[in-house]
Symmetry: D2
């Protein structure tokens, strides 16, 4: 069984800069999309529901940009779990081009938070057992 959550994404005109390669903040939008798809498709927690009561802010990010990606290329984005904490999650990720070369890779720490009141403060909240169970399928060992 594969422990990766995988999606493909095409490099579009809006992603590239003057040099014709992806402007790196756009890669992080693509990473956010990957996490969003994972929550909706694999963890059954669509962001459109989560954001009524909770959020999943990114608290730590490490990325190595290894190879430029150009307009028209189709990247394969993979996500997996490196560690599950009480309310936090350490995920690994990599984006590969059509020849399997890594364009970027890194790790991201997400925290589950609950809104304490109407649009005000937030506090960390443990993942439910059911949620941990679903997340654990993506742990790569």
């Amino acid at each position: 069984m594969s422990n990766y959550f995988i999606k493909k994404e095409k490099i579009r005109f809006k992603h590239v800069d003057y040099a014709g390669i992806v402007f790196y903040p756009r890669f992080l939008e693509m990473l956010n999309d990957l996490v969003e798809d994972w929550f909706e498709e694999a963890l059954e927690r669509p962001f459109s529901k989560i954001h009524e009561t909770n959020g999943i802010p990114t608290v730590d990010l490490k990325v190595q940009f290894k190879k430029a990606a150009r307009l028209g290329e189709i990247l394969t984005k993979s996500l997996w779990v490196k560690n599950i904490g009480g309310a936090s999650l350490l995920c690994g990720f990599k984006f590969e081009d059509e020849e399997g070369k890594i364009c970027l890779e890194g790790e991201v720490t997400l925290v589950n938070v609950a809104f304490k009141d109407n649009r005000g403060g937030i506090k960390a909240e443990s993942f439910s057992e059911e949620m941990k169970e679903k997340i654990s399928k993506f742990v790569l060992s």
Copy 2:
């Protein structure tokens, strides 16, 4: 003498997400703006000139997001140099709110590259001595 390169930036409507806080890829656009301003204002290498023959791609990024930033807040963005390599540069950065609390901090590695031919390949190119001289004023020890 201060070794920091410092700019202020206001959190705008376009930066914030559904939770009313900055969507983290927008922070990296703000970081790119900071590097761009530093090259133009302090290193006298405006991106509008650089990009005729060279680029400064980001090859490594580490960020810790410590405190959410909200619509209307004015952040102070600081950049400094941790290490100068032949063709690369390791910079530290931090974004602070009006009370001096750190919203995010991290480090970014930039590489000086030259375009080998018309919009095709790139290769690393050492910074000139004049450029290293200017950069060295921002080394924090």
Copy 3:
């Protein structure tokens, strides 16, 4: 007395596309920034306050893109009022380069809305007399 609300904005690396000119959705982010600045600086209704109870969605937009804008150029953005309705506002705008040539111009219709309940529906709400008074200073006749 000038009836224009005027701000300057520099074309940055993040704004430009593969051809080295501003990607047009970025111009509309700049337009949104202009409206945001106008509400805060001239109408004393900062978006950070408005959005607790109200919003100013854009309901109609017409733009003519007349001249490309390049990395490093500084544009002068002007906004004025063409018509004040009960809950709506028709504004004209133009962005000019340093030689006074128009890069884009057009008109945008904004509507004042109130949130009916917690993050649910919205309904149009008339501008207060005080607000109309402030807005009227920007009517160009």
Copy 4:
């Protein structure tokens, strides 16, 4: 035969603003994606090839925003041709929600341009007969 070019797009976290609805410049990125897909999939002119010698800048845009779109909704984006000029193209477009309600609609004028020299000036260039033939299949009468 259908004269519409049609694509679906899901509203993502990165598209929405503080009010939980799509920030309108993001709709125009979605429109640009639609034009990009149309050129690649229906007109056999992928932007990754076009941009070596030509561009398709947007010179005129009219949009009516009729209904907010929320996180998680899937919009159907349709494009058609209203008029083919020598070097220009007037296209209609509409984005509908899952119940067929129009979120936005409008028209956009695109111009075919050739780069006169290396990254310098541009000039309008007529579409080839082959290209006009392909475009004409999307004329709605």
